[in-house]
């Protein structure tokens, strides 16, 4: 990464504040990301999410 040339024009361009949410409050970028995955990867993502929550919950119960 560090040795790759930096596009200074792009790097200096201010990032526009763009809302990723639709009028009904849905984050469309998350839908597009999920749709880029296979069903097996989607299930694995959900499974990882649950495992993370359980791990955090377990840690908070111990502390």
């Amino acid at each position: 990464m560090g040795s790759e040339p930096v596009n200074s024009e792009a790097a200096n361009k201010p990032i526009q504040a763009v809302s990723s949410q639709t009028d009904d409050g849905v984050d469309i970028t998350l839908i597009r990301w999920m749709l880029s995955l296979s069903p097996a990867e989607r299930l694995a993502t959900l499974q990882q999410f649950i495992t993370s929550v359980e791990t955090i919950r377990g840690a908070s119960l111990k502390s």
């Binding site: 849905v26 839908i31 097996a40 959900l46 649950i50």
Partner: protein, 165 residues
């Protein structure tokens, strides 16, 4: 009786497949399999209520160590009469929560819903029937439960994006 179990959807589905249970995946996990970015902690399945399938399901539930999570202190498991009814059984298994539904929405059972399913590869060589997103939305639109209706904007947007892709 330990109520908290580590959730492993794939493990539950594998046991049901090994016992040749006829079922389809509905609810939040079906929505996720279709690409909806939502979180859910239980697995909703609609099962065939034929006597043969109920027998296979009972054997699978025994292998899963299933019991009613509404009455964890009893450790009581569902019997054939529970699984033959259109009602829902809220269970805990050694691989996490499992909701077995005889019917969903306004009385849609397995035989009715299986024509609205897609068979999906969900990993580790498992292929299961998953309720189509269109039907899932229709069912949620028809029910009055606030928690089911709350996810409708997300499901509709997911369907739109899928059609656009």
């Amino acid at each position: 009786m330990e109520l908290l179990s580590r959730a492993d959807f794939l493990a539950i589905l594998r046991v049901l497949e090994e016992h040749e249970v006829e079922f389809l995946v509905a609810g939040g996990v079906a929505a996720v399999l279709h690409g909806a970015p939502l979180a859910t902690f239980d697995l909703d399945l609609v099962h065939a209520r034929s006597p043969e399938n109920v027998s296979r399901l009972l054997a699978a539930l025994e292998a899963l160590g299933a019991y009613f999570r509404t009455h964890p202190e009893t450790g009581r498991a569902p019997d054939a009469s529970h699984l033959s009814s259109p009602g829902g059984q809220l269970l805990m298994t050694r691989f996490g929560p499992l909701d077995l539904l005889g019917a969903v929405g306004k009385g849609h059972g397995y035989e009715d819903l299986k024509q609205h399913c897609t068979r999906m590869d969900i990993g580790e060589g498992l292929r299961v029937q998953v309720l189509d997103l269109e039907k899932l939305i229709q069912i949620r639109e028809a029910v009055s439960a606030e928690k089911d209706r709350a996810s409708l904007p997300l499901l509709r947007r997911t369907l739109e994006e899928k059609r656009r892709a």
